[in-house]
């Protein structure tokens, strides 16, 4: 189906002014001609629309597919921007070799595939102009593609720029065509550039080609990914169906062009909006039906199966019925019922249903007023999961069972995709005309770095599994704990009993950890947030070390108001526990242990350490997050270690009013952290390693040019003679590659501590992948590290191992975490501030992990 059908299906109600098509692509022409052009283009306005019914004549469908994906390709440009930032060449010690050598080699299979093309492969970029000028892109494409010179060539065209894999004979080619109205249009195709296969533009074109290919495998693009509606996975007991699909991309890895694919699922509900409405009406009755209906439906995303597009419900128009008419773009009036009959051969059965209204996304550079689409509830399927559904354990379990594919399942799906691409004649033809050849799956050698020992107070423990050492250290004393003498427990009448029993348990557990907990003052309060806050205000005096609140419900206001008051107005560490959690009798001990550990940290204690061979090393974690209330506020969390053992932290959160995800305030933070370090260690750290998380696509340049200088200058200013050496590492939890180990003829998740620093990495960066988490179900995802600045000159081996060690130091979990601890701390801090506090926490708490 062509794009036009889509547009029409939305039943667009456009104002006349909005239909004027801007001729932004028009090439500069002499003004005299321009006038006549204006006439032509305005008359073409109707030509464009009336003509398209003859799609087939011009073979528009293929061209259309090319052009729409081209548009998407431009949107994804940000991804490619990062590629031009070559950070590795500035780092002398890794210029020749960035791979480590320590550890046990392990053979890994990846989700990457070779993409072969001839050595001399080139892409030719042409510019196409039309005389007289045409406004309709569709018409431009149709006219160009009808020419025999181009018909059997591999091409991608967006209406102005044409990419070909083979050069045309002439540098400037002139073609002419006749429109159905008998107008003669002259087209001039001028060669602009010849691009080698390594050019970023080529990568874009490769991505466009693969999008085309996936469409040819009858997959539909929803968002960025492609889904296959014809093979749904049904979960009938929850009225859900899952569309299997893939996220794909093509890019240059270490030396080769590789295609990567990852399995993805789209969750759909087997229920139309109309069915939902009817059920709701029966439940609630007519009296308050419209209100509840609006409350429940507005904001949801629906999918219309006739064109496999998604829309968000922004409003419900109760006054419009399917029998009403709307104006098509060519000006004719048609009822919704007739329209769907004509266009999709769908009969609308309920003629009294209201219409859903969706606000369409505005095109770039388009300042016209908002466009609305009316949708028929009967034809809209609900997608995604409601909050109610996500809190349903059984449902989530059923979904997880289907979506969390184990490595073997993933491998099978990949194999099938590759098979399909190679067997489908259309897809193969597309590849072949471009001169590409789909190659084999990449397998590479990773290394498993040795596991770490956990240092407790009087014991060095070698955990059975780094994933969870809570059992291994159960009998050991923690490194350092302040005794808790004066503290409060706030609870309601109902929870008093459970609070008492929990307290006993807590004191017992804490005692065995080496954490002395005295009997607190227990204050009973009413069950409302105001009562809790008043009690806190009334009873917190200077001697109180910690306030524990046993919250009667998980209503957000309890937590938010208590945290807000106790972290900025009156800075005292606080611990909130849900009464429901304490009611789980069988788990009391483990809950108490976890809470005791959190409380120790909140009082400034240290739980465990790992061996860090580098003396005088400060590690810093930075993360950013948007404030939940005011979207234009960025919350930047920074956490720095302040002792050589990396067990104590200085945490600070800064709110900045900017629209970008770039931190402005790093100098303030770094200066503070270095002062702290100096205070405790009477010297400045010799090395500083900064882990920066929360970096999006296309931000690498800003990071290198804006954040790194901030860090550097604060480090340089802190000392006059020898300044600390700095490294900055970008941490990304989401990355395309996945790794599997081959074992007993099946594939499995790779072991903890697997490092990959070849083939799946990028040549222009000093980067590596590290697997530092365990997936009990499904496939583990590696964490991607990119060293963008490095004065330290650590060997890649050491950098990788240090990073692995740091993943062990997150005190909220007795096991390894997916990112280095400072990053996880910074994330936790920003999350607390963005969700609950909405302002900078008091600096008096900065020495404690008060946000755990």
């Amino acid at each position: 189906m062509s794009g036009r059908a889509r547009v029409k299906a939305r039943g667009i109600a456009r104002s006349p002014s909005a239909t004027e098509v801007g001729r932004t692509q028009a090439s500069p022409l002499p003004t005299s001609i321009d006038l006549s052009n204006n006439e032509a283009s305005s008359s073409n306005g109707f030509l464009g629309t009336s003509r398209i019914s003859t799609n087939d004549k011009y073979g528009i469908s293929s061209g259309d597919a090319g052009s729409t994906s081209m548009e998407r390709g431009v949107k994804n440009k940000q991804d490619f921007m990062d590629l031009s930032i070559c950070t590795r060449e500035k780092l002398a010690h890794v210029r020749d070799c960035k791979t480590g050598s320590s550890g046990i080699p392990v053979k890994l299979v990846t989700n990457l595939f070779n993409l072969d093309f001839p050595q001399d492969w080139q892409l030719y970029q042409y510019h196409v102009t039309y005389v007289p000028d045409l406004a309709s892109r569709r018409l431009r494409i149709a006219l160009l593609y009808s020419h025999s010179e181009l018909s059997n060539k591999a091409k991608a065209f967006d209406g102005a720029i044409l990419f070909l894999s083979q050069k045309l004979e002439e540098k400037v080619t002139e073609l002419s065509s006749e429109t159905q109205r008998g107008e003669t249009i002259k087209m001039t195709i001028t060669l602009k550039r010849e691009l080698p296969s390594s050019s970023p533009v080529c990568i874009q074109v490769f991505n466009i080609i693969f999008r085309k290919i996936l469409k040819k495998l009858s997959m539909y693009q929803i968002g960025r990914n492609f889904y296959n509606p014809s093979e749904p996975v049904e979960i009938p007991q929850h009225k859900l169906s899952l569309w299997p699909g893939f996220a794909i991309s093509v890019s240059y890895f270490e030396s080769k062009l590789l295609f990567s694919a990852d399995v993805s699922y789209k969750v759909l509900r087997n229920e139309t909006v109309l069915e939902f409405m009817t059920a709701l009406c029966q439940r609630t009755g007519l009296s308050c039906f419209t209100q509840t209906c609006e409350k429940q439906l507005i904001g949801l995303i629906v999918l219309t199966r006739y064109n496999n597009r998604t829309y968000s419900i922004d409003d419900i128009d109760w006054s419009v019925k399917p029998t009403h008419t709307f104006q098509k773009r060519d000006g004719t009036e048609i009822t919704y019922v007739d329209y769907y009959k004509q266009q999709y051969d769908i009969t609308v059965s309920d003629l009294n249903q209201p219409m859903l209204v969706s606000l369409l996304k505005r095109k770039r550079n388009d300042n016209s007023e908002a466009r609305l689409a009316h949708l028929i509830p009967e034809l809209c399927f609900l997608t995604g999961l409601t909050d109610q559904a996500t809190s349903d354990f059984q449902l989530m379990k059923a979904v997880a069972e289907k979506t969390r594919l184990p490595p073997s399942g993933r491998q099978q799906r990949l194999a099938r995709l590759v098979d399909n691409i190679q067997r489908n004649s259309n897809a193969r033809f597309e590849l072949e005309t471009w001169g590409l050849h789909f190659g084999s799956q990449i397998s590479l050698t990773g290394r498993v770095v040795p596991s770490e020992k956990i240092l407790m107070q009087d014991h060095i423990c070698q955990p059975v599994s780094a994933a969870d050492w809570s059992k291994d250290v159960r009998t050991c004393k923690i490194l350092n704990a302040r005794s808790l003498n004066t503290w409060l427990i706030l609870c309601s009448d109902r929870t008093e009993y459970v609070a008492e029993s929990f307290l006993n348990c807590l004191r017992r557990v804490a005692g065995s950890m080496g954490f002395n907990v005295d009997y607190p003052k227990i204050i009973k309060v009413q069950e409302n947030p105001a009562a809790f806050v008043r009690a806190v205000q009334q009873y917190v005096d200077p001697d109180v070390q910690l306030v524990m609140c046993i919250l009667p419900s998980n209503q957000k206001t309890y937590y938010d108001s208590i945290k807000k008051y106790l972290s900025s107005d009156c800075p005292v560490p606080s611990q909130c526990v849900l009464a429901r959690t304490l009611n789980k009798q069988g788990m009391m001990m483990s809950i108490a242990t976890k809470i005791a550990m959190q409380m120790t940290c909140k009082l400034g204690g240290e739980l465990w350490a790992v061996e860090i061979p580098l003396k005088s090393l400060m590690v810093v974690g930075i993360d950013v997050c948007k404030d939940a209330l005011s979207k234009d506020v960025m919350v930047v969390g920074c956490v720095a270690s302040v002792n050589p053992g990396i067990t104590r932290w200085f945490s600070r959160c800064i709110l900045q009013r900017t629209m970008t995800d770039v931190a402005d305030c790093l100098k303030v933070f770094m200066t503070g952290a270095l002062n702290k370090w100096y205070k405790y260690n009477h010297d400045l750290p010799a090395r500083i390693i900064v882990y920066r998380a929360g970096v999006g696509d296309g931000q690498l340049k800003t990071l290198v040019e804006y954040e790194v200088p901030q860090l550097l200058s604060s480090v340089a200013e802190s000392s006059s003679n020898t300044s600390s050496r700095l490294s900055v590492i970008v941490v990304r939890k989401k990355c395309m590659p996945r790794f599997f180990t081959e074992m007993n003829r099946t594939v499995q998740n790779p072991p903890l501590g697997t490092v990959v620093d070849s083939e799946a990495t990028r040549n222009e960066w000093y980067d590596f992948y590290l697997i530092s988490q365990v997936a009990c179900r499904g496939t583990v995802s590696p964490t991607y590290y990119n060293v963008i600045y490095d004065d330290n000159g650590l060997k890649p081996d050491h950098m990788q191992r240090l990073t692995f060690k740091l993943c062990h130091l997150y005190y909220n979990w007795p096991g390894i975490v997916s990112v280095p601890a400072p990053c996880q701390y910074a994330h936790k801090l920003t999350f607390l501030v963005a969700q609950s506090i909405h302002k900078e926490p008091s600096l008096e708490l900065a020495n404690h992990l008060f946000y755990l």
């Binding site: 209100q291 908002a370 105001a530 005096d541 008051y565 107005d569 020495n847």
Partner: protein, 403 residues
């Protein structure tokens, strides 16, 4: 030792404060008694502790406290009696720039305030936002849900925009003459301005209110009083306080009943509380129920921004200098005595709380320092903080015994 306390006169505290400095000079002083010979000469001098360098101790302090030497009671009177109006209008979200209607006013709150009298009157009303532009219902609903939670339709409390505006004008400007200045927070100014204009359009009443920002007002008052400009951070921390979020008689009835924090009236009242709490006290005004919600205040005065701002020696000085504080203090003590907690005698309880913020910081600082190996350079720093802590805490006691 019952009589020990009686022996603590002003000189005792003066000496105690001096001890760290003497120690730094290398003198063997263990107790106050040892230090007395070294201090006598200084006692004769007028004591004016210079500003301590803004340290890491209480970072909020890097706002320079008011310079007491410029304290004058002349010209204050006009300022004290001056009437300000704080206004806020809530909207159901903000619509994108291409829309003609940018905001949908739904609640208005306004208070009449003077430093002397506190909140003199308040005005509150819900506003009928009118028809929600087609297609933006979700947007508006989401914005409402994340803040004031006023229903976007079928809310019968909403009044007609023209009526509301008329009532507001009647509230602000009951008698002919000059219109008083209206203030709102700078973040809200665009919205409030737009809504006022929009409502005026609907009602065809033309009166361009002069809308100023509270931040500028605070700067103005501060400047007039202390002849210097306060820092932006200080003003922000002064106005952005969560302690009154749940205070009684602050939110409108509907928001109070539904226990929702975001209320247009509460925003205005909280501005008044903050200004009372931090600025009015500087003028020596006795805080009343109209200034701050006193019943909640006694428990939480440990965190009044002013307390945090002042340093120990200065604080003592200030209290002796201005009579307003003693009233303020005694008012609190009466209430404080109802809830005897902690080891302090009830009269001294407030002072103990006053040191809360700082005291904790110091104990922690001391702990952290004692944890790390000793460092001569830093040790002096810790000593001074210790002294300020001690003297402050005891200073209060002495003061309460004086009053």
């Amino acid at each position: 030792m019952p009589n020990r306390k009686a022996s603590r006169n002003a000189y005792y505290f003066f000496v105690q404060e001096k001890i760290p400095e003497l120690r730094r000079r290398g003198l063997p002083v263990a107790r106050v008694a040892d230090a007395i010979p070294y201090c006598s000469a200084d006692w004769a001098k007028p004591v004016f502790t210079p500003l301590r360098k803004p340290g890491m101790l209480v970072p909020k302090q890097n706002v320079s406290p008011p310079d007491m030497s410029t304290l004058s009671l002349k010209g204050d009177q006009a300022l004290l009696g001056g009437i300000f109006y704080f206004l806020n209008i809530f909207s159901h979200g903000e619509l994108p720039p291409h829309c003609e209607q940018r905001f949908l006013p739904c609640e208005i709150g306004c208070v009449k305030y003077s430093l002397q009298e506190g909140i003199m009157a308040d005005f509150h009303s819900f506003i009928n936002p009118g028809e929600i532009p087609r297609g933006f219902r979700f947007h508006c609903q989401a914005a409402s849900d994340s803040s004031h939670k006023i229903p976007i339709s079928n809310f019968e409390r909403g009044h007609n925009q023209a009526t509301v505006l008329q009532n507001l004008y009647r509230f602000i400007h009951p008698n002919p003459g000059n219109w008083p200045p209206i203030y709102c927070k700078s973040d809200d100014r665009t919205r409030v301005n737009w809504c006022l204009k929009h409502m005026a359009k609907a009602s065809e009443i033309r009166q361009d209110l002069q809308l100023l920002t509270v931040e500028d007002l605070v700067v103005g008052i501060y400047q007039q009083k202390f002849l210097k400009e306060p820092s932006k951070t200080w003003i922000r921390s002064l106005l952005d306080v969560a302690m009154w979020d749940y205070s009684s008689n602050t939110r409108c009835k509907w928001h109070e009943e539904n226990d929702i924090l975001f209320c247009a009236l509460a925003v205005c009242k909280k501005i008044a509380y903050c200004i009372s709490n931090s600025l009015a006290t500087l003028f020596g005004i006795q805080l009343t129920e109209a200034h701050v919600p006193l019943q909640d205040y006694e428990a939480s005065n440990s965190v009044t921004p002013k307390m945090v701002v002042l340093d120990a020696g200065r604080y003592q000085k200030l209290r002796v200098g201005s009579s307003g504080f003693s009233h303020f203090n005694s008012a609190n003590q009466e209430q404080g005595s109802n809830t005897p907690i902690g080891d302090y005698p009830s009269r001294a309880k407030i002072s103990g709380q006053n040191s809360s913020v700082r005291g904790r910081g110091i104990t922690r600082l001391l702990e952290s320092i004692s944890n790390s190996s000793s460092n001569i350079h830093k040790f002096s720093n810790c000593d001074t903080s210790l002294s300020s802590y001690m003297s402050q805490k005891d200073g209060y006691k002495s003061f309460s015994s004086l009053s």
